[in-house]
């Protein structure tokens, strides 16, 4: 089957949905292609958003409402196998001819099993930040045995700033997510003790530093500057962790009921395939390069291919949505010549 449209938006996460809405509202024809059978992307797995504790389902719902009112053609369950600025081929064989493309294909989560020393997938009570969000969603935080954890360690930078796993970049949002999650744990389990192990606290956004202070002063969350070097299982599913308390320059050891790994953002392998097919430039991290970081952040090295959201780098939900608006405007400008 051959379809025709003005713009193909690849990826039905928050950036893709927003870009498609904007294009339609401006009177342009647009097809939104999503690999999954539902829209919303990774945000669907999230419970609440930093720093305001806004419910993520509210954000998705708002975007989907906007989408409903627009005339966007959504192709769900459709995997893109080939892309250029004028053609998008799907796994089903469908070809969409177009005049511009917006890539909003996002990121992959770092697979925590690769950091073997933390025993994710092996030890019972080592979980990831995503698993924890799932627990928040169900309303109970519990260890595998069903008990509420009394001591929780949160480890920042798992799969970020780590050359051992080919992830040199900072995933940017994990620090503030860790602060948010620590507070949520304390809100649900006020008697629990939460220890955040960090290398640097990167509180880059509005209200983030304030949230960090709130976590310290109001919620008594402990912050220890040092990366956990290994975890080992103790009897009854507890875990022993080792780190350096770098501010006292002493090794530190403690046992916890639960270890939460803040998994970073990884560039999907498909970025390299797209780059190979279209001539898009990639950063060393595997994310797609913008044409210019300052004035043309949503443009790429290939005319007619635009980018929005985490396809170019780790970003917050707000940043991704704003970029989607910018990308759709840039795409419109391009097709109008």
């Amino acid at each position: 089957m051959i379809m025709q449209t003005d713009v193909v938006v690849v990826g039905g996460g928050v950036a893709g949905i927003k870009a498609a809405c904007e294009l339609c509202q401006a009177g342009s024809k647009c097809v939104l292609v999503e690999r999954d059978s539902v829209l919303g992307g990774k945000l669907r797995g999230w419970h609440k958003l930093f720093p305001s504790f806004t419910s993520s389902s509210d954000v998705i719902e708002e975007l989907l409402n906007e989408l409903k009112q627009s005339n966007v053609e959504c192709l769900l369950g459709s995997e893109v196998v080939y892309i250029s600025s004028t053609l998008c081929r799907l796994a089903s064989g469908t070809e969409i001819q177009c005049r511009a493309v917006i890539l909003a294909t996002g990121y992959n989560l770092f697979d925590a099993r690769i950091k073997e020393e933390y025993g994710y997938g092996i030890y019972d009570n080592v979980i990831t930040s995503v698993d924890l969000e799932r627990m928040f969603h169900t309303g109970t935080i519990s260890t595998l045995s069903g008990a509420a954890p009394e001591k929780v360690a949160i480890l920042h930078c798992v799969g970020s700033r780590d050359e051992k796993v080919c992830q040199r970049h900072c995933s940017k949002v994990c620090c503030i997510t860790a602060v948010k999650q620590a507070i949520e744990i304390k809100k649900m389990l006020p008697n629990s003790e939460v220890f955040n192990f960090y290398m640097d606290m990167r509180m880059f956004g509005p209200g983030y530093e304030e949230l960090y202070l709130t976590a310290q002063k109001q919620y008594n969350v402990h912050f220890i500057r040092g990366r956990i070097s290994e975890a080992a299982q103790l009897p009854k599913g507890r875990l022993q962790i080792k780190a350096e308390d770098t501010l006292t320059a002493r090794p530190l050891i403690m046992s916890v009921d639960m270890l939460v790994l803040m998994v970073g953002m990884k560039a999907p392998k498909q970025n390299a395939l797209f780059a190979l097919a279209t001539g898009l430039e990639l950063q060393p991290s595997g994310f797609i390069s913008s044409k210019d970081l300052f004035l043309e952040a949503v443009l790429t090295s290939v005319p007619g291919i635009f980018v929005a959201g985490t396809v170019t780098a780790p970003k917050t939900i707000g940043e991704s949505i704003s970029e989607a608006t910018m990308a759709s405007r840039a795409a419109l400008k391009f097709i109008e010549g």
Partner: protein, 111 residues
């Protein structure tokens, strides 16, 4: 049992063992002065310390050790503080560092 002398003894670990340390005193201090937890370890206090200039005294390290339940020797160390108050002036988190010194000494006693 006769203890044999091998010419060496088993070195004791320097590890801070958070399972063995008793955090009761530490929690007492933090309850009275929650702002101490806001320390970001910048070291301005130690940099400007009149006692630290002349001795090994490191205020940042001392209160961090207390927060980990490592009390031994802290009282003696904190006695080096001249209570000049410069550290309080430079602290970006606005921690009442003079009070921290006095509070730790009072809570721990001659530990």
């Amino acid at each position: 049992m006769a203890v044999k002398n091998f010419g060496f003894s088993i070195s004791r670990p320097r590890t801070i063992d958070m399972d063995k340390n008793n955090l009761r005193k530490s929690n007492e201090i933090l309850r009275e002065l929650p702002e101490l937890q806001a320390c970001i370890g910048c070291g301005s206090c130690t940099a400007s310390c009149s006692a630290g200039l002349l001795t090994q005294f490191n205020f940042r390290k001392m209160h961090t050790l207390v927060r980990r339940g490592e009390y031994e020797g802290v009282y003696k160390e904190l006695s080096k503080c001249m209570l000049c108050g410069k550290c309080r002036m430079v602290c970006p988190r606005n921690i009442n560092t003079r009070k921290v010194v006095l509070l730790i000494k009072r809570t721990l006693g001659d530990f």
